[in-house]
């Protein structure tokens, strides 16, 4: 029983890059195979359900990543500003300073949206709830906290779209830079 040459986690991470760049429909098995360095057979060994399975694993990886680098820091002890700052730093890396697209956002296009409606909804929902919790800790009452949280996620997603549209990562960086201030000012 030979150990796998590449840990499944690493495979998933490579698949993620393909889906993130091309979306679900646009990601072909040939690309997925090339990017992962695995033959089709090995790919189907890891993911018996084919492309849909791969995308599902990628989404779960994103959920894990979010839990570790976004939800956990937001829920950790510390001042709201400090907790937000840790999320900002993680997002800046995840999105390569505004140069990379959002996997979740790209999964909302075409068949993928129907296929992954629930995990997508849950991911956005969890993110918003974690942010709202921080806002409440900063003294906001429930409803404004929720609205601020939605607006925050919305700004980040919108910034990624605009950054790709204008071919300039600046809008994304500006949104991240301003983010902590929006909490204090509200």
């Amino acid at each position: 029983m030979p150990a796998p040459l590449m840990p499944r986690e690493e495979v998933v991470r490579r698949l993620l890059e393909v889906f993130r760049g091309h979306g679900f429909d646009g990601a072909s098995l040939a690309q997925l195979s090339k990017a992962s360095g695995l033959g089709k057979s090995s790919l189907y060994h890891y993911f018996p359900g084919g492309k849909e399975d791969m995308a599902r694993a990628v989404l779960e990886e994103v959920e894990r990543w979010m839990a570790a680098h976004v939800l956990a820091p937001l829920a950790a002890p510390g001042t709201p500003a400090r907790r937000l700052a840790r999320m900002v730093k993680a997002l800046d890396e995840l999105y390569d300073g505004g140069r990379a697209a959002c996997l979740l956002g790209n999964m909302l296009v075409g068949d993928a949206r129907r296929l992954f409606r629930k995990p997508l909804k849950d991911a956005f929902g969890a993110w918003i709830e974690a942010l709202a919790s921080v806002a409440r800790d900063a003294g906001m009452s429930a409803t404004p906290a929720r609205l601020w949280a939605e607006e925050t996620v919305l700004s980040i997603e919108g910034a990624l779209v605009l950054a790709r549209g204008l071919d300039d990562p600046e809008p994304f960086r500006r949104v991240l830079r301003r983010l902590p201030g929006t909490l204090a000012r509200s």
Copy 2:
């Protein structure tokens, strides 16, 4: 020389719906043919360059639509608030109250982004410039006006993403509702 049964404009509008729902990669010729009611041959008569040509025509149609329903109202005489309100109304219809996706946004995924980089950049750029002009008319100086304009576009795009992610058009409606106020307050 028989007149075309369907004006080219109407064909393009039908193709738009397919691209907007499935993105460029996800839109197949079979879907495009069915949605337009045209056989492949007729489709290639209208668009000799194939799918890329169709997408280009769709993008041009969007540019025309934007010019008529967004840029023109924003540049028209009237108070800034009134001009903004007219754009808001148009956008609310275009995006079906937050239930429909953004064609421009979906064109940023996969090969399409490379293919249509320039028209996409121009479309976003023109939109932002028209908004910035309104902001300047409202008394803002150049730089804040530009920032406000970018933030406005970013909020709309982000709201569309979030609305689709949460499966709830409310974030989009809220952004539109609040939009006029953001100008006054800045």
